[in-house]
Every structure is written in structure tokens, then in C-alpha cells.
Amino acid sequence: MSKLDVKMDKAADKLTVQMAGTIDEDVDFSQFNLSGNQQIDVELAGVKSINSCGIREWIKWMGTAGPAKITFSNCPKVIVDQINMVDGFLPSSGKVNSFFVPYYNDESGAEKNVLFRYGTEYTDSSVTPPEAVKDEEGNDMEMDVIEAKYFKFIKK
């Protein structure tokens, strides 16, 4: 049984897809039709994990969208990692609208996911992180990723 919850909302030529859960070998994307849409917005904040079998199914599913313009919103780190690593995970017609960047403070152990939005924190060729990210106690937090690796997809 799939551990992924998918909700689809079609309005005019735009399809909004909300996903939450785990994308693995149990997922059956064939029941979610992407074809016939000009615009597909995929909301990914609820995705917890994805494995290699899930990636295979994802790429096949994205391939069924045809020429539709696809945007990914609120991408968690697990999705950004796959976008960076797996060629085709983000379709050629796809674009990331927003994604989360993990921050942490090594001393306090505080963690926070900061949303980077297209046009605000990043553009097609550059990233402008917030000047300072602080935890609840006001401590400075640092980015919990290898920037050259994590922001790679922006500079493609």
C-alpha cells in the first residue's frame, strides 16, 4: 500500500497537485493523470522521503505531463537533493518556485527550514540568502548544506 497521499485539483488548464508522504516502489502514479494540462503546480512540502525506485516512478510520471509547464513549490531538502542529483527529476519544462534550505546552530542544536522563493532569495543564476537566520534564542544559524551542491540546480 502506498504511503504517499496525492491530491489533485484541476481548474481550467491548471492542475494543482499536493503530495505528502513517501515516494517509493509502492507508489502507483498511473492513477494520477497529468496529461492535457498547460500548467501543473506541484506542492511538495509534505514529501518526507524518496528512494531510487520512487525516483524511477517519478521520472516516468513526469514524462506523462507532455509539454505542460511544471512548477515545484515548497520543495523539501529530499526533493532538492534529487533535483540536483538525478538528471530528469526536474522536467526540462520544469521550474522550482520555492524550496527549503535547512539551517542549524551547532551549539544549541536548533534547526530551521528557510523557504527560498524565486525572485526573492534566488533567480535563474544567483542565490541571495537572507543576511542572517537566527534561532528562537537569537543565535546565528548557518546553512546546513554544501552550497555548491545544494544550489546547483539554480545555475543549470
Binding site: E25, G88, I146
Partner: protein, 611 residues
Amino acid sequence: MKKRGLSIRYKILLLLTSIPLITLTAYLVLALRIFEDDKIAYVFDSSSTMSGTMAAQIKTQLNAVLGTTKPIFQDYLSQYKFSPVANSIFQNEFNIEDIVVFTQGATGQYEKSAVLEKVPDGANSLLGTLAAQMPLYFAETDANGRVVKVPFHDDRVLIMERVLNDTKTKSTIFMVLVRMSESAEMFRAATSQKLYLISADGTVLFGPEEMPGQKIQSLINPQFLSDTGSKVGQGAETVKAANGADLLVSYAKAGFGDLTVVTTVEKAQALSAVQILIRKSLIFFGVLVSLTVIISLFASSGLTHALTQLFTATKKVSEGDFNVRVDVTSNDEVGSLADNFNLMAAEVSRLLEQTAEKARMESELQTAKTVQETLFPETRAKIGPLAIAGYYEPASECGGDWWHYCQVGNKIFLWIGDATGHGAPAALITSAAKSASTIIEKLDISPAKAMELLNRSIYDVSKGRIMMTFFLASFDLTTGELVYCNASHEAPFLMKKGADVLKKKDLVPLNEVNNPRLGQARDSIYEQTSIQLDAGDGVFFYTDGIPDIQNPSKEAWGEREFIKALIAANKDFPNVSDSVDRFALSFQSHRQGAALVDDVTFFVVKHEGLQ
């Protein structure tokens, strides 16, 4: 096997027969006791009735005698001689043989005064015979007013009645000898119950043959004889006879003189019906037990037959024959047991086959593991300036990760890949990759071209069902140039040697090019790029199983700890062996022996300076 005890068939038989036997025995004992008590009560009741009836009859008869003789007595007392009227009455009473009148003389002794007799000189003959007893009779009559004797131990009864004059100064004793044949015969003829007419001292007046004149104490010594002052006129008691037999004794005082009627019945005789009941009950018991045994045999044979089948079948199972089945058609618990046994045997048989199959597959997997191990290179190597050290641990017998290095001309090719999933299917793909690499190595081509060929090989083998991320690099032994091509694999980290210790910012991901995974499409085009490695620089190649390493609490190691461990292991740019050992130690301390969720593969190369 444990030694068998009593068969369940005999246990059932024993149970079914012992229950009615015990129940009926208890019932019989209880019933017999009640019956015996009831019977004794009945005998006491009937014999008391008999005693009372006989006592009343004796009293009536004796009173009748006195009633007849009373006019004679009065006739005498009116004239102190018998008139012809008195004689006439006497002659008409055939049962009365003699009447003798005694009056007190001057000395106070009784002297014969008058006589009425049926036989001439009969009275004198009577007095002559009783001469010895007469003083005693007079004394008793004086004391009691009336005495009844049977002096000849036959049916003749001697009644002595004392009559006082009006001033009570002179007493006259009338002695009447009367024959009571019917009463004597009744006492004599009694059979099952013995009747005795006794006087106060226990002398038997009437009774069975040989007993008249005897003391009843020679037979029995009932309590009521000793209790002389008792006013109880009738009673019953159990008395042990002189011969040891228990007698049921009842008595009734006649109310005439000191006469008492006693009835005795032998207890054993009275309870003979109980013996009959016992005999009949025993016969009934025998029949019932026999029937129970026969029915039990039939009932138990049906049950034990099925159980015997089950026993035989389980014995065969214990000997290893799991194909045995039990044919029991009953619908009861034993039938269900047999059905369950058959299901169990079938399931065990299936599991055994499955276990054998599993053992065979495990054996094959072990063989595959052994074969796959040959696909991996020596974990420590140094080719020219390039030192190499690696680590590989599959999540199961066979893994989907693979790494390799080889020298082609003046280049060292470095291979690392990760097939979709893990286990045997992924391992087969790594085998295909290894096979392809063996050929590709001989072609002396660029990493990008090599990747294209490798992709076709993987695609042809998996038909798009299993893919592989891959990273292929070639290190030029003479220039130090590293050319690489990535097929959606985790980008290796270049650890650029600086003057200071290694820091996070010194980690450079080799991700300038990326390409589709191997096996995704047959004709994918792969691009490559290059970087320059300087002496001291190292590169860390790995698969994505490393951040996924979990501890026993299922907590993943995570990318942050992974990066920290990588930096810590290489902060002083150690040799590759130390680098691998340190890094492995880091994740093993997190893992704490927990099973891997994915294969773990990494290797480190270090440029140790051109020759």
C-alpha cells in the same frame, strides 16, 4: 518416545462403568439402610399390634371366666356354701373344671372350705398335685389379690382370686381351674412370630412347644422385665438372644394379674426381604454394568479409532513423514482435531518445502555473494601517484553498489555505481556493469564514451526496469587531470589540500556535469568535464546509502553528520587507508551494529604527487 500408559479406550471404559457402579452402590447402601429401618419399624408395629391384640384377648377371656364365676362366688359368700344354683351354673361351664374355696382358719392359714368339681375327687387330686406350690400361691394372692398360673404347662389355667368381706377382716380365696385351649393353641401355633404369655417373673405360661413353665430369660432378657416399676403397658426393643441372634421383641401387658404378652421375631428373618433386595440389586447391577461395558465399548471404539488414527499419524510425523493424512469423517471435536492435524501436516510439509527452497536460495545467494565479491577490486592500491582505498558492505547477501578501478594506458579509471534498490536483482545489474567495464577498459576511450557504452549495456540487460546511477572518472597519471562523467550519481567530493586543515568550504562537489541514469534510455548522450588534481588532493566517492545508515533506534545518520565525519576523517589529509578507516569508524559508532537499510560503498583516492 514416552512410554504409553493405559489406553484411552480402557480409561473411557473404566470411567463409564465406574460412574454408574459407584452411584448405584451408594444408592443401594442408602436405600437398604432406609428400607431396613422402615422394615424394622414395620415389624415392631405389627408385632406390637399382635402383642396388644393377644393381651386384650387373654384379658377378655380371663375376665369372662371371672364374670361367669362371680355369681358362684357371691352365692358362696352369701351362705358360705354352694347352693344348687351355684352348682348348676358351674356344671354348665364346660371349660371350668374345678372351683375350690379357701377361708382363713383360726391360725390365719387358708383351709379348703368348699369345692365344685366336674370329676369326683378332682379337686382333691388337684390340691394334692399342687400341695407344694399352694403356700406360695396363697402368699402371692394375698399380696396381689389375684394370681394366674399354668401349673401343668398345658391349656389349664389356675386363677386365684381373693375376696374380702365387707369389713375387710376376713378374706376368702377362690381357686378356679379353667381350660383355655384356644388361647394356648394360638400361642403354640405362632410361626414367624413367636408369642409368649408370661408372668412378671418371666415364667412362660403359654408359648411354643417346650417353653411353658420355662423362664423366658433362658431365651432373651428384655429390658422391660428388669424394669419392674415401669407403668409402660406396651413397647418394643431389639434384644440379643442367648444363641446370639438379634430378636425384635415387643410386649403388651394384659392388664390381668401380672400377665404380659411377648412377641419375638428374628431380625434376620424379618429382614429377609432386604437380602432379596440385595440379591436382585446385584443381579440388576451386573446386567447394568454389562450393558454399560458393551455400550462403552461401542462408543469408545468410535472415538478411539479416530484417536488411534491420529496417534499413528503423529507417530509418522515424528518420524519425518509429513505427507500422512488422517481420514476421520466425524463432525465432533475429534473430527476438527483431525482436520486441523491434516492442515497442520500440510502446512508443515509446505513450510519444509519452503525451508528447503529458502535454503537452496540462500545457498545460491551465498554463491552469488561469493561471485559478486570477485567483481570488486582490492580495497587498497597504489597506482603511480594515485593511492586508492575503498569500503563496501551490502545491505543483504548481494548488493546493488559497485566500485572499481583499473589502469588503461596512462590513465586510472575510477568507477562507482548504485543500481535501483538492492539485493539480487540490483546485484545482477552490477554484474552486467562489471562485464561491460571489462570490455570498455580495453577500448581506451573517454569517460563520457565509456558511460554511453555502459548505458547501452545496462539498458539492454534491464530493459528500463532497473537503472543505475554512475560516476566514472579517469585520472591522468602524467598530468594529474581528472576527467569525469556523472550519470545522476552522488557527486564525489574533491578535498582540496590547503595550508590549513580541511574545512567544510574545502569540499568541492564534482557536479559540473550531470547526465541521465544508466538504463533510463538506450541512446542517452553523456557529457564529461575535467578538473586538475594537485599533489595532496583527495577525492571521496560514495553512494547514497551512507547518510541513510541507521542506528538501532532507526535514526538515520543524516547528511550533516556524514559531512562532519568526512571532514573529521580527512582534516589532516591522511593517507587513504586512514581516511577510510576513520570514516568507517564514525558511521559504525552511529550504527552500533544495526542492519543496513541500503548498501554502503565509498572509496578515497589521493594524488600523492607526480613522479
